[in-house]
Amino acid sequence: MEFPNDLYYSKEHTWLRVQDNTGTIGITEFAQKELGEIVYADLSNIGYNFQQDEVFGSVEAVKTVSDLFMPASGKVIETNQQLLKTPTFINDDPYGNGWLVKIEIQDNSELKNLLTAAQYVQVTNN
């Protein structure tokens, strides 16, 4: 399984890519494998504010549904519209086309609560 080194990870299996003040969020390779084929991503609307660890949506697999937790506090500024038509991007390309939402990061100091790729691998091994 692949866990890119340039991303932050949460224990709740989301990843965060930080570019300037913008955070792109998705679920990890481990999470998509555990869920199986994603059939629907139910995401927050643009403009909503969330705290770190707050639920901002859910992903539905054929058999299960799983809540999505915000890796960092911020305002949703974009959602991945391609997922409406092709939710399986989350399975096939979890760190690329399968991204979920983009946020305006509110507080960079929160990033220290997140995990590195190596630390996240430990979480998936437990």
Partner: protein
């Protein structure tokens, strides 16, 4: 966790495994949608050896079956199968099951019937105890669950793929009938035209001894693999059965729902007395307060077990019992109990999905047309 004769093979094939009814079972191999399509379009193999099998014999065997189940087993002749329910004293469903008539009951000719009951894995003990408690006339009962293997080979091409493995005519076997004989070099195998997918195909029961399980498995895949036969897990078994509107015990039916509420009136025969038949006859006359219906989502979202069902004004009118994204239709479907007023086809209902009320409509079952 208990194992089936094939557990090691599932693990070796890379299946995602999970506990189901106390057994370590395969949930999926290559992915639910992929496996689902294989069964609808060609053929797939399910290990369902966890299911329970009871043999009933003796001159009171039929009399006992008649008293504890809802369907009329006196109609069965040798080689025929019936879908039926075990009821409790309140008319609730203890289990849904199949009754196989292995030898016909003809007491005038001095012949007692032999029957096999196939029950849900999670209910083996409950069913056994409940039937045994009611076995007041001394029918002979045997629980052969632990020494019986069961593979379901389902799909439009399943019978064609398996025919070379036996001299019995299984290609033209009629729905809900069976034959017993030599299959893949193994004696006393029951091949029955039944299943839980609506895709056509067979179920194969055998004695789990002397390497029979390996012989049958190897022969099936030697014959089937070149023809695209695939391994299928319980995940796709659930989406396949839900597209047909087949009830899953513990989800859609349970001790607190009656066969009439569950739409199983067609297997509830008042030509005889059975546990709570008087109560059920009254319920039939008055009409049940709630009914199990199929529904399709109109708004986007996927219904799941136990989600609330509401009317347009937000009043609680029922609960979802099963739901999924239908791989065949590409739409979200479900089943659930609703107040009878909302049970007609096309009734508008709302499913509460994480605090949102999503529109759905009651639809005809099955969601997908059966091929058999």
């Amino acid at each position: 966790m208990k194992e089936t004769p094939f557990t090691a093979k599932h693990i070796a094939a890379g299946a995602k495994m999970a506990e189901f009814a106390g057994y370590n079972m395969p949930i999926s191999y290559t992915g639910i949608n992929d496996e689902h399509a294989a069964v609808r379009n060609n053929a797939g193999v399910f290990d369902v050896s966890h299911m329970g099998e009871f043999i009933f014999k003796g001159e009171n065997a039929l009399e006992l079956i008649q008293r504890v189940t809802t369907n009329d087993a006196s109609k069965l002749t040798a080689g025929k199968i019936q879908y039926s329910c075990l009821t409790n004293e309140n008319g609730g469903i203890v289990d849904d099951l199949l009754v196989y008539c292995i030898e016909e009951n003809n007491l005038h000719a001095g012949k007692a019937g032999v029957y096999m009951l196939v029950v849900n894995a999670a209910n083996i003990e409950k069913d056994w105890d409940w039937i045994e408690f009611q076995n007041t006339n001394g029918a002979e009962m045997h629980n052969i669950s632990d020494r019986t293997g069961l593979l379901a080979i389902q799909g439009p091409n399943a019978s064609k793929i398996l025919q070379p493995l036996t001299d019995m005519d299984i290609l033209n076997l009629r729905y809900y009938t069976f034959v017993k004989g030599k299959f893949a070099g193994v004696d006393n195998v029951i091949v029955s035209a039944t299943g839980y997918t609506g895709a056509g195909g067979l179920e194969i029961y055998f004695e789990d001894k002397d390497g029979n399980a390996d012989k049958i498995w190897d022969a099936i895949f030697k014959e089937g693999t070149p023809k695209g036969l695939k391994l299928i897990g319980l995940g796709a078994r659930d989406t396949l059965r839900l597209e047909m509107g087949y009830c899953l015990y513990g989800n859609d039916i349970d001790d607190f729902s009656t066969p009439l509420e569950a739409g199983l009136g067609w297997i509830t025969k008042f030509t005889k007395n059975f546990t709570a038949s008087e109560y059920l006859q009254k319920q039939k006359a008055a009409g049940p307060d709630k009914k199990l219906v199929g529904f399709e989502m109109i708004d986007r979202g996927i219904p799941r077990h136990d989600y609330r069902i509401k009317d347009a004004e937000g009043n609680l009118i029922g609960r979802v019992t099963s739901g999924t994204q239908s791989p065949t239709l590409g739409r979200a479907i479900g089943m659930g109990y609703v107040s009878t007023a909302f049970s007609p086809i096309d009734s508008e209902i709302f499913i509460e999905v994480r605090d949102k009320l999503l529109k759905a409509k009651v639809s005809k079952l099955p969601f997908v047309q059966q091929k058999q």
